[in-house]
């Protein structure tokens, strides 16, 4: 095991992810070949279509926004030595926090304050509530881990299912207006994040159709804040200390149980921002299943991005490209449907995540020979 950590940094953060990605594409290509399609044209469509139009780029950024939030969510927990599989559920439940203030508070504030003031205040409350509910839903498995010893991987997975059922119930029985057929809340007009296209229209610039909205900047700011938290605050130091060496952390007077719960709360809160983005920025109402697997993609994003915010942003863009390219590919080729794209993404996650260490020993051998 002496090869671990002995590789040059550029190999560790550059070559290994790219190699894994290449192998994932290779295997995906084989799958495409098996169903009788040309893998080269498929991959070409997958990669080139989204990049050849402004709308495609915007869609990539739109997906990358979600993936950045969930990637950061996984990364913060990871630095504390925890594997948070529950980003999906945390992001879903946080929809309650995103929608409720918009539906209740927005109307009240709107009645007494001018629109230009009530909207930002409502949005801010929505943002805080999204984070808070996500944080609670992350804190809870953290509490179970810290105080009861229940393994976080198991509890977060189970809480994903609970989140799913809970949200179906809440949206159907509580949020759905009487008489409405679709299982969704009424439109949240009092906390409405305009899309780039709508903003462009307001100032007279034509922008292609895409759900991209200013929340993408929130993702960048959040990434910076997470970096700041982890490497420039005492709390971040303690989180990393617990993750790196719990015994040394105890020696240093850090209480691991407290740090585990705190890190999981922050982690869940970050996933909760997906709800803010999706519910208020894209859907403009509370709908079913808006998270669409972003929580799971976040795991791959964090692994590929080495749990560093910059890496996470880059990996989020890559997965944004795969998502958008996958959609384009399913339009271009009838035989390759959405499920096929999920297979490709799954392979990427498999090679980036579970098999991430596969090539490391070999590369280590090559580099020790060369050096």
């Amino acid at each position: 095991m002496s090869q671990r950590g002995e590789l040059p940094a550029w190999v560790d953060i550059g070559l290994i992810p790219l190699l894994n990605l290449a192998v994932a594409f290779l295997v995906a290509g084989l799958v495409v070949l098996i169903i009788g399609e040309n893998p080269f044209t498929s991959i070409w469509i997958l990669l080139s279509t989204p990049l050849s139009s402004l709308g495609g780029w915007f869609n990539i950024l739109y997906y990358a926004t979600d993936f950045t939030f969930t990637g950061l969510c996984v990364a913060v927990a990871f630095h504390a030595g925890l594997f948070n599989i529950g980003g999906e559920g945390q992001a879903y439940v946080a929809g309650l926090g995103a929608a409720t203030p918009g539906l209740l508070l927005g109307g009240i504030l709107g009645a007494v304050l001018p629109h230009g003031i009530s909207q930002p205040i409502t949005l801010l409350v929505c943002l805080i509530c999204s984070f808070a509910i996500g944080a609670f839903y992350g804190w809870f498995p953290g509490y179970l881990q810290a105080k009861r010893g229940s393994h976080i991987v198991i509890t977060t997975i189970m809480l994903n299912y609970i989140a799913s059922s809970l949200m179906v119930y809440m949206i159907n029985m509580v949020f759905r207006p009487v008489g409405k057929m679709a299982v969704e809340s009424r439109g949240i007009d009092d906390a409405y994040i305009m899309s780039a296209r709508e903003i462009g229209r307001a100032v007279g610039v034509k922008i292609p159709a895409s759900p991209i909205n200013p929340t993408v900047f929130l993702a960048l700011i959040t990434a910076y804040l997470v970096w700041y938290l982890l490497w420039r605050t005492k709390l971040g130091y303690e989180i990393r200390a617990v993750g790196a060496n719990t015994e040394a952390a105890i020696y240093a007077g850090i209480k691991p149980a407290k740090i585990i719960m705190t890190a999981m709360a922050i982690s869940g809160g970050l996933a909760g921002l997906v709800a803010f983005h999706e519910v208020l920025g894209a859907q403009h109402r509370l709908v079913l299943d808006y998270v669409q697997g972003a929580g799971f993609v976040g795991i791959a994003v964090a692994l590929m991005g080495r749990s560093h915010p910059i890496g996470i942003i880059l990996a989020a863009l890559l997965f944004g490209l795969l998502y958008q390219g996958g959609t384009d590919l399913s339009f271009a080729n009838q035989n390759i449907n959405r499920d096929m794209v999920v297979v490709i993404q799954g392979l990427v996650i498999l090679f980036m995540g579970a098999l991430e260490q596969t090539f490391r020993p070999y590369l280590g051998m090559i580099f020790t020979k060369v050096a």
């Binding site: 005492k234 040394a248 240093a252």
Partner: protein, 505 residues
């Protein structure tokens, strides 16, 4: 002369920079109980792991009944009739005794025949060696002593002629240990050979025929048990290495900084690891705690520094009862610094940069940032200063902690703890695995700190270190303080105290 049951010739093994076994030769007579004694880290377990096929020796030869053999795995060892009872049992808790016994000797796809055979054999073994265990009991539900019996049965069932026991009594109550010794004598009388690894002198005296003493990877002495005594063994174990004398003036002790009263700490099995310990440390003196490692020194340090919670007793630090505090952070803030015994697992975080490790425990110090903020510049600046003052090489605050040599890692830790200007410094094994140059440096710094009027509590398994640094020496054995001696005490006398012999002449 009969052929030795086991012969080890020139066994040599390195783990990176650690020379675990240096040219070890050992001969074990058949039908005897042979003790191997030495402190933790003396290389006993490595040697036995080589014999049992867990490690391969870099050099040397193993002979079983006179024939040179290659032992590449435990399967090889078992086929040569060598069985091992590990310190931490290798049992499947949810299996029955019978199922555990046939583990690795199932003899086919269906285990029915093997189970039937094992049941029969077990009855024989039980009669022959006083090894009664219910074959259908679930192992996890058995008492520790019985679990150990299952381990012995396992080895015998597989046809072991030579049985290695690694620290077998560590987990046993005295009554269970006595029973184990009876079993071992029965085994001997039936012609089996037993190798007993331990660091407890009493056991060696009680049961063995021959004893080999290991120190720092070497066999330093061989005795026939009846011709030796506890004092001689203790002396051989602790050794008389080159004296590292430090220049120092007589101490000038001031007021009491730390007072420990009747402190007891029991582990999860309710065994008192620290047993009714009382001590005081005054300003301007170094109090050394000597003892063979594993006699409660580590636990004592943990309790005093707030890492573990005292079961009973009192800790008074600077006139205030801090027993219930149980918080290393608050104790640090009040002026209690702690250089831990194990620098890799506690002293620093190997994956962190040197600068990050250099604030471990002091991350809330206002000097490295106000409120929640951690001031990177201040941290780097402080680390640079400390590295310069303590001559850490390379003086690079950004280098990963793991990349420094042992001595430099230790200097980073000392710089951190001494740099906090503490009233009391608690130091565990300050020079373990540190090169000579760094040892001198560290010793000088500790004396210097004492001369500044600070109180120092020193724990070390190096008797020379204790003797050259301390103003007063306390000796710990089995969790208790055996006695207090002045710094110029006779080495032999301390050796006896370390072996648990209360009243030395």
């Amino acid at each position: 002369m009969t052929t030795p049951a086991i012969e080890l010739v020139g066994i040599d093994k390195r783990f990176g920079s650690v020379h675990a076994n240096k040219d070890v030769s050992l001969s074990i007579a058949p039908g005897s109980i042979h003790g191997i004694i030495g402190e933790n880290g003396a290389g006993k377990s490595t040697l036995m792991s080589i014999l049992f096929g867990f490690y391969q020796a870099d050099k040397g030869e193993i002979r079983v009944r006179g024939t040179p053999v290659k032992i590449k795995s435990s399967t090889d060892a078992i086929s040569h009739g060598i069985g091992m009872v590990h310190q931490h049992f290798m049992l499947v808790d949810t299996f029955t005794v019978l199922e555990n016994v046939i583990l690795g000797a199932e003899g086919g796809r269906l285990i029915g025949p093997a189970l039937a055979k094992a049941r029969k054999d077990l009855t024989h073994l039980a009669e022959e060696y006083e090894l009664d265990v219910d074959p259908d009991a679930i192992v996890g539900e058995l008492a520790v002593g019985l679990q150990q019996r299952v381990e012995i049965l396992k080895a015998l069932y597989k046809g072991a002629d030579v049985l290695i026991l690694d620290e077998p009594t560590g987990v046993l109550t005295p009554a269970e240990a006595d029973h184990l010794f009876r079993i071992l004598s029965t085994l001997r009388s039936q012609g089996k050979t037993v190798i007993l690894i331990t660091h407890k002198l009493r056991e060696i005296m009680a049961i063995t025929d021959q004893v080999s003493v290991m120190r720092r990877g070497e066999v330093v002495a061989n005795f026939a048990t009846k011709d030796t005594n506890v004092g001689e063994l203790a002396e051989a174990m602790v050794g008389r290495s080159v004296l590292l004398r430090v220049e120092k003036t007589p101490s000038n002790p001031g007021e009491v900084v730390l007072e420990v009263k009747n402190l007891t700490w029991r582990d999860k099995k309710n065994v008192p690891r620290v047993d009714n310990v009382s001590l005081t440390v005054r300003k301007g003196e170094i109090v050394g705690i000597a003892g063979v490692s594993g006699n409660g020194q580590s636990e004592l340090l943990d309790v005093i520094t707030g890492i573990a919670k005292a079961t009973s007793g009192q800790i008074i630090f600077e006139g205030e009862d801090v027993t219930a505090l149980n918080d290393p952070r608050i104790l640090r803030e009040r002026g209690m610094a702690h250089v831990p015994e194990d620098r890799h697992h506690r002293g620093l975080i190997t994956s962190f940069s040197a600068a990050e490790s250099a604030i471990l425990g002091w991350q809330h110090n206002p000097a490295v940032g106000k409120s929640f903020h951690l001031d990177q510049k201040a941290v780097i600046e402080q680390t640079r200063r400390q590295m310069q003052e303590f001559d850490v090489r390379p003086a690079d605050p950004f280098l990963k902690s793991a990349k420094f040599s042992g001595g430099n890692q230790q200097k980073i830790i000392l710089a951190r703890e001494i740099g906090s200007n503490p009233d009391l410094l608690i130091v565990g094994q300050p020079t373990r695995g540190v090169d000579i140059g760094a040892i001198e440096f560290i010793h000088r710094r500790l004396i210097q700190l004492r001369d500044q009027g600070k109180a120092i509590l020193l724990v070390s398994v190096e008797l020379d270190e204790i003797r050259s640094l301390s103003d007063r020496i306390l000796v710990m054995f089995a969790g208790r303080i055996m006695g207090e001696r002045a710094a110029d005490v006779d080495e032999r006398e301390v050796g006896l105290l370390m072996a648990g012999v209360q009243e030395a002449a």
